[in-house]
Subunit: 522 residues, 2 copies
């Protein structure tokens, strides 16, 4: 039923669009291509002011599309933000958080037991009802145990890995991370898929680009609408690039990785144009969280003028580069000041496909098509969570911090610094500071770097507080947190013997099962 | 003789250009329009990543022209940088520095006795030999006593003021700053030329835009090549804007001022196009020093990802937005990584006019036309002085700091902070730290924020040091410092009775002449 309704709505849209724009559209719903970067920062693109300006293809994409300077991740860490993209829901709802400590970031290392619950509706599952073929290329990160496999959650194809490309491991205390093709592993990082930590050389981005090109060509030949989720990870430490790109950047190895991805995206967009399907393909580029300043300068990116980076709920931790591209539909060279969220990609993609989001649960993602196609601005809050704690909220130009914390003094003294070179008294705190009664409020237009809290005695503060308080109250009163998925760890659940390991002779012996509370230090 | 030779060279260039590009050029040397901002920062333009993206005209200028992300002021303070622009020479050569203290910034408040020496050749003086009419609109800042008047140094017309628009003063202890039309004052700030400090309202930018439009039209009607030096000051604290722009920015009053200037520049460029002279007009946009973070967030701009601001020799103090625009000559939409300097505008403007720079003195400015027209990159150092002290040098991607200092602990404890929210141990120091033996060296490509000094034990450090040392030695061995102009102050030399005051009945009584050493605290 849903599929039929969707098709009908889509056909109507086709007629309306063709009438209104004089555009000839292909007789199928638009393809959807989401380009998700890993730890890439707001300030890493030329079009966002990166001084070396080494992203000509992304800059061109922005010139032909719409730039969103006020676009946000759903979390300052990878797994929760990725779960939010694919579900349209805050991590606090889907269970992608920990309650082991207060305000702790958590993700899915290979010893984590949890992952994406079956009860969640993922974007590819819903798009399937409208006839889409879906592929994920790259990093999944929503759980690596069998029940969390992406092909069990709506994707038809997968080439990539379930976890970060950390390593190399000894395959005794800890197995190397597997790389999958569809249901089965085809090798492991540092083994069949080498990453040279000394030189930074790895061919993975080239493989991921080829996977994207092949999938697009295949679906186009089959005349099937596609959803491609291209989740490359070369900009996550340890950063890597293939030989032709190594040393090509003025920015060091991190820049080499950015240049290779930029070139790959250029090839993908050109293929869409060469195939004549660019005008029937909605493309969106963004990143999962802010640049990991802890890995800078050699392995981390830039958050431009914003405060701190990954792991924090300051702007540098969650404000992302974002570009929408849909030639002939989204007007070229525009900037939208819409507050956007990675969760909007769920709802917007459904809308592109002519589908409605699920009505049986809270969906946080907005349909951004009115912003993209008609230049509308929609009032909406951005929530900044760390674990199960609402740290901050942005509404319009105002951001209120209810809690401030970077990390503990203990970690900081050991050199773990999420805000290198930045220090704002009472703001970038190393103890968890509660401001729920009297939040720190910043005007992000005048003060994007969150340096100057408004005076609590000012009318401006009181007005902003009043508006934000009512939004937060409504949010918290109706919020039903999901069962936390990132509390329990167990060495036995690691990638010892992924499906397909027998054929390759790469099965490893798991240790005894010992469930324990995961340790999340920050 | 010089004018004849210049005309000959220019005519030859015309023929060559017309043959090579198929462009029909007007039968006169190109006009020159230098747009110099006051305290505007690298990060204040959309095209440089300002998140609110409120500079559509400047962004369009960049799209039609060439962007320079690595362009520098000649000093972290206004007067010396402006003297350098108009002479093509470092302030240490022209005397635009103080030797009253070590590494002290100095400028031309109205009690300063010195100014631009007669021995200096200013750009308009030289352009006059090629038949140019020259006008300065806005802030002069090279000395306000009669011998320093811009019409004594090559300009044919002036509308603007000799000093900053500080005030209001009581005209007893201190006179309000006069506004001149050509030789004579036509009023004073806060009197005939009101600036409302409470609301930020002032019509000055509108007047300055009109002056530019009228001058361009007039010279075009007279078929005379022109040099217009448009030195507006609305982004210098106290920032101001006219009523239609007040409240129009997401960035507060500072943003209102930027928007008004951006709109004005749009009008000026459109006029050039409407008059059909755009292809015969070389336009360059830049700023005199980094954003004054001390005035942020309400009265100061943004230096993007760079460290600190005005008054410092970190990147935020001296790296500037810079756009070249010359339709049909400079290719559109290009980025040049040439290390550029405000002093290059002197030499480049001469080159545009078919003139050679003076050969009887050291000229620091390069001719950037090869970078602009042929995309060439020229190796050259950028010197960062504070007073008479060489604080730092950039060569290629490497910047070496020989001295680090922001300001004194005493000032800092009183709230004078040139690096708000930024603090890098051993780098943003509050005592003058000498590193002449073993400079701090940063790789600006990987680390534009100057956060991670290279290890002194690394090959990279030693290679960079070796190359920089030889450049610095050569510079210092051949340097002949000019007589310092900014050492002596005297209340009697203030703007008590500027020329024309009698006609207006606005002459004031000067106090007794008491020369004293100027006090330069930072």
């Amino acid at each position: 039923m849903a599929a039929v309704a969707a098709a009908t709505r889509w056909q109507l849209l086709l007629v309306l669009s063709a009438a209104g724009l004089g555009v000839t559209l292909a007789p199928q719903p638009p393809n959807i291509l989401l380009l998700l970067m890993d730890d890439m920062g707001w300030g890493d693109l030329g079009v966002y002011g990166e001084p070396s300006r080494e992203t000509p293809n992304l800059d061109q994409m922005a010139a032909e599309g719409m730039l969103f300077p006020n676009f946000y991740a759903a979390n300052p860490l990878c797994s929760p933000s990725r779960a939010a993209l694919l579900t349209g829901r805050l991590p606090i709802r889907t269970g992608f958080y920990t309650s082991n400590g207060h305000a702790r970031n958590a993700y899915t290392p290979q010893e984590v037991v949890g992952g994406i619950p079956d009860s969640e509706h993922l974007l590819p599952e819903l798009l399937r009802t409208a006839g889409y073929a879906s592929k994920i290329v790259g990093k999944w990160h929503l759980g690596h145990r069998p029940q969390f496999h992406p092909l069990k959650h709506g994707f038809d194809e997968w080439f990539g890995s379930p976890n970060c490309h950390f390593g190399p491991y000894d395959n005794k205390a800890r197995p190397n991370i597997p790389v999958y093709r569809d249901w089965e592993m085809v090798g492991r990082y540092y083994e069949e898929f080498p990453i040279n930590l000394r030189t930074g050389e790895a061919n993975l981005t080239q493989i991921y680009v080829q996977e994207a090109l092949d999938f697009i060509k295949g679906q186009q030949a089959a005349r099937r609408p596609f959803f491609l989720y291209w989740a490359v990870d070369a900009t996550h430490a340890p950063v890597y690039a293939s030989r032709p790109f190594l040393g090509s950047s003025q920015r060091g190895r991190y820049g080499d990785a950015v240049r290779e991805i930029d070139a790959g995206i250029g090839r993908v967009l050109r293929l869409l144009q060469d195939l004549g399907v660019a005008e029937n393909t909605f493309v969106f580029f963004t990143s999962d969280n802010g640049a990991a300043l802890i890995s800078a300068p050699k392995q981390g990116g830039s958050n431009g003028p914003f405060l701190c980076g990954k792991q924090t709920t300051f702007e540098g931790g969650m404000r992302e580069p974002a570009i929408a591209w849909w030639p002939g539909r989204i007007p070229a060279g525009q900037v939208s000041h819409q507050l956007g969220s990675i969760m909007d990609l769920f709802t917007t993609s459904l809308s592109v496909a002519g589908l409605e989001p699920p009505s049986d649960r809270a969906i946080d993602g907005l349909d951004l098509l009115p912003a993209m196609l008609q230049g509308r601005l929609m009032d909406r809050p951005i929530f900044y969570y760390r674990g199960n704690t609402l740290m901050a909220v942005t509404l319009g130009q105002y951001k209120a911090h209810f809690w401030t914390w970077t990390n503990s003094w203990e970690e900081f003294r050991q050199g773990v610094d999420f805000c290198p070179g930045q220090n704002i008294s009472g703001v970038t705190t190393h103890t968890q500071e509660e401001h729920t009664k009297l939040p720190l409020i910043f005007h992000l237009g005048r003060d994007p770097g969150e340096r100057y809290p408004l005076s609590v005695a000012s009318t401006e503060y009181l007005d902003a507080l009043h508006r934000i308080t009512s939004v937060v109250q409504q949010h918290q009163e109706t919020l039903v947190p999901g069962q936390p998925q990132l509390n329990v760890c167990n060495q036995a659940v690691m990638n010892w013997a992924p499906p397909g390991c027998e054929k390759l002779g790469k099965c490893l012996e798991p240790p005894e099962s010992v469930p324990e509370k995961c340790s999340w230090p920050h």
